[in-house]
């Protein structure tokens, strides 16, 4: 499996940045960056990362299963992550999540049939001061209300 030249360069540098014999340390960052490029973590990707980091595919799979930000199923083009942890919960995060689910017509960890959106209820994303907060791919949106969310989704739909 090969990646874009930029990513390949990044991986090459990554593998050199750990002490000798510690290539397994690169498993998590390699998975994260590769997921961004490939879209999700496939069997093929797991085997490739294992080969590059000199661990067994099962050891990579253990990591993938442990971290909720690594996805084995393909995500939507926009991955909507609604925080329902304490601060957001108090400020209506739970209702926001229910609303998002209704608007998009999908449940937690599901993807719309057209593959444009996926939804996930996530733990704290570190934006407590601006609760309730959501994250769309890597973009943060603060003080989100149901109306604001609908607008955001509408805009994105139109762009696509």
């Amino acid at each position: 499996m090969t990646f874009s030249p930029e990513l390949e360069a990044r991986f090459a540098k990554m593998l050199e940045s750990y002490p000798p014999g510690r290539t397994r340390s690169a498993v998590v960052p390699m998975l994260l960056y590769a997921q961004d490029e490939v879209g999700h973590i496939s069997h093929e990707l797991i085997e490739e990362v294992a080969r590059r980091c000199k661990v067994t595919p099962l050891q990579v799979d253990e990591v993938v299963g442990y971290y909720s930000m690594l996805h084995k199923k393909p995500q939507g083009k926009v991955h909507v992550q609604v925080c329902t942890n304490i601060s957001c919960l108090i400020d209506g995060g739970e209702e926001l999540f229910q609303h998002a689910s209704k608007t998009l017509g999908i449940g937690n960890k599901e993807t719309t049939p057209d593959g444009q959106f996926s939804l996930e209820e996530v733990e704290c994303i570190g934006a407590c001061s601006w609760a309730p907060a959501i994250q769309m791919n890597y973009d943060f949106h603060h003080h989100v209300t149901p109306e604001k969310l609908d607008k955001l989704i509408d805009e994105l739909r139109r762009k696509q």
Partner: protein
């Protein structure tokens, strides 16, 4: 460092520094319950069952990772501890299906026992249980995730114990489950260690599952008949059928260890191809006949050939007991009057004993491989050919940080632990060993384990090398089969009698027997020499004791159906010279042990060469075979006693050209392996030597 004093449940306890509380308690007979703690494997403190109260510590502590400290006061039965155990069991049972009535483990399950002893009678959880369907990972390993309590024992034994690392844990929290190395299946040694070590019924065996309740079997501790390591395997037998093999009681030299052969490859016993009636050649074809007819046909022929001074030859077995081998050579030498007796030699034991003349304590035991500070392996893929010896060496490295050296013709698993590995070219082993001289000299002691690459003169050179190091050196000469060593010791040899006594008039050796055109009678006991060779003598009357119609049996004039090692009593000697007892677990209709067959033939011939019960013959061996005067109570009680080496020169060349390992892998076992369905059913079979690590 002096012992540490502590108090456990009011009892004063002395323990060595570093002892874990759980073990200190065990010393004084206090059991602290635990699931994940397992002697010899790393502690993970995953199950929380061993929580105890330690004075001056605010919270309960896990006894499996807490080392003893001076003045420590531990309570293992306080109300708080009892409450905690109840809670832990309640948590462990949250998603457990409680399907004990149909679970293989029911009746011998640690979770059942703990719940019975420490658990609460009821659960407060009313939520729906998580269910995951059962998975089959290989023909011998099944996994039922809901029963799993995530103690990590299987993961650790596969990684640390076996060095295979085929199991892991995926997902997290309540969804965490054990996973095999190839997404939906296993590629590993298929040893089943994970199944035996599982405290619950999560990992089950393909051979055993849903066959029986454990209390319906009787358990027979005997010795595995496949390789030369001599592992104790406990056969679970019901209605004259072996249903499982394991060693959960950790008795015997091998502790909990067994490979796929010891655990699963007993099924050849029940093969439909098993011979259950004597066969006699009539009008050119082998036909089943009665024992009486077959015995009299053989006895008549033998008497007739003996009377006219005809030529006899015998090839004995690497699988039969010491008693049978002893009795066979006695029969050949005394009743038939021939010295032409041999067996398939797989290691040069006679030359090693010769080279060690005058030394005592120079033969290593299996225990030495676990305890000695340095091990040198020459010319063997130990993990494939001698899995228990490899297990001992791995454990030695893990527990004692032993220095391991390998000199092999290809990649082997032991290299992972080795301080130095040399890839050698076959034939150059000794030169490469020489290059390790300075490093080996610096070791306090050494065990040298060598395969058939070193034989004849090479053995003398190797021992000279060992002597020149100036440190105590012990040796293991690797041989292949369950009683290869015994066959050699009992004198299945044309030049050497029992105990390596010289023979005044040597007979024909293995190759000479097969090449002799004028052979009148050729008797083969439990061997298959005609698989690769032809028998030159066309007129030879061939008698074969066999379990199956092998290539050799097909050429026979009379075939006696032989009992397997699992169907007879007696002793066998393993690769390290340790004598252990075989115990009959069952009988297969129509077969007889080789000892009885030989006895009956000699009786039919009207020749008395002594009583043919195994204990009488063993008595004779103990008094007449050098080195076998071993303590009877040890062997009789199922222990292993090492034979003492001959302390004088072995007066004959060992014919190094005849010494050839059969190069069996973990998944082959000579002729026996062909009739074990399980052994050949796994994905990895037949495997190969020196193929290194599997992906």
């Amino acid at each position: 460092m002096s012992d540490i004093n502590l108090t456990i449940d009011g009892q004063a306890v002395k323990a060595a520094p570093g002892t874990l509380v759980i073990n200190a308690a065990k010393q004084v007979g206090i059991e602290i319950p635990s699931f994940c703690y397992y002697d010899g494997l790393q502690s993970v403190a995953a199950c929380r069952m061993c929580l105890v109260e330690i004075e001056k510590t605010p919270k309960l502590q896990v006894a499996c990772t807490t080392p003893v400290a001076e003045g420590m006061v531990v309570r293992t039965e306080s109300p708080t501890v009892r409450e905690a155990r109840k809670g832990t069991i309640e948590f462990l049972l949250t998603n457990h299906p409680l399907d004990c009535p149909v679970c293989d483990k029911g009746g011998e399950c640690e979770l059942q026992d703990m719940t019975f002893r420490y658990g609460a009678g009821e659960s407060r959880f009313v939520e729906q249980k998580l269910h995951v369907d059962e998975q089959q990972w290989s023909p011998v390993v099944f996994f039922d995730a809901p029963r799993c309590i995530l103690c990590y024992r299987c993961v650790r034994v596969c990684d640390e114990g076996m060095g295979v690392n085929a199991l892991g844990v995926i997902n997290r929290g309540a969804h965490a489950e054990i996973a095999p190395n190839h997404f939906d299946h296993l590629e590993c040694d298929e040893c089943g260690m994970c199944i035996d070590i599982c405290p619950v019924g999560a990992l089950t065996s393909g051979m055993y599952r849903y066959k029986t309740r454990p209390w319906e079997m009787h358990h027979v501790g005997t010795i595995c008949t496949h390789c030369s390591n001599g592992c104790k395997t406990t056969l679970g037998v019901r209605n004259n059928q072996i249903i499982r093999g394991n060693n959960r009681d950790q008795s015997g030299i091998n502790g909990e260890f067994l490979c796929i052969k010891g655990r699963y490859a007993f099924d050849f016993v029940h093969s439909p191809e098993r011979l259950q009636s004597p066969m006699l050649r009539k009008n050119g074809a082998l036909e089943p006949v009665s024992w009486a007819e077959a015995l009299s046909a053989v006895a008549q022929k033998l008497k007739e050939v003996k009377a006219r001074g005809g030529k006899f030859a015998v090839i004995g077995s690497n699988h039969t007991t010491n008693e049978e081998n002893y009795y066979l050579q006695k029969f050949a030498r005394e009743a038939l009057g021939t010295a032409s007796i041999d067996h398939h030699r797989t290691g040069d034991v006679p030359t090693l004993l010769d080279a060690l003349s005058g030394k005592t304590g120079a033969l290593a035991t299996t225990d030495d491989l676990y305890n000695r500070k340095a091990i040198l392996v020459i010319g063997s893929d130990l993990s494939q050919q001698h899995p228990f010896l490899a297990f001992q060496i791995r454990a030695n490295y893990r527990h004692h940080n032993a220095h391991i050296y390998t000199v092999t013709a290809g990649p082997v698993r032991e290299q992972k632990q080795a301080v130095r590995s040399i890839m050698t070219i076959p034939g150059q082993e000794l030169e490469d060993v020489e290059s390790l001289r300075d490093q080996l000299k610096a070791e306090p002691e050494l065990v040298i384990v060598f395969g058939d690459a070193i034989k004849g003169d090479g053995v003398h050179k190797l021992v000279a090398f060992g002597d020149s190091l100036g440190i105590p050196v012990k040796y293991v000469c690797l041989v292949d089969y369950s009683n290869s060593r015994g066959a050699s010791d009992m004198g299945l040899s044309p030049r050497l009698g029992p105990g390596y006594r010289p023979v005044s008039e040597p007979g024909l050796a293995y190759d000479e027997i097969l090449a002799a055109a004028d052979l009148d009678v050729f008797w083969v006991v439990g061997a298959n020499p005609l698989k690769q060779n032809a028998l030159a003598s066309e007129k030879a009357f061939v008698v074969v004791n066999e379990m199956f119609l092998t290539e050799t049996a097909l050429r026979a004039d009379v075939v006696f159906p032989a009992a397997s090692a699992y169907e007879k009593n007696g002793t066998v000697t393993n690769v390290c010279g340790e004598v252990q007892r075989l115990k009959a677990g069952l009988q297969v209709m129509g077969t007889k042990p080789d000892l009885e067959i030989i006895g009956l033939v000699s009786k039919e011939m009207g020749i008395n060469i002594g009583i043919w019960t195994h204990d009488k013959v063993f008595d004779e061996i103990r008094t007449s075979v050098h080195g076998y005067n071993i303590p009877l109570p040890i062997v009789a009680s199922g222990g292993a006693a090492q034979t003492t080496p001959v302390n004088g020169h072995v007066p004959a060349s060992s014919r190094p050209d005849l010494i050839q390992s059969s190069r069996d892998t973990l998944f082959t076992s000579g002729s026996l392996g062909r009739y074990s369905k399980t052994l050949s059913s796994v994905l990895e079979a037949p495997g190969g030597l020196y193929s290194g690590e599997r992906p």
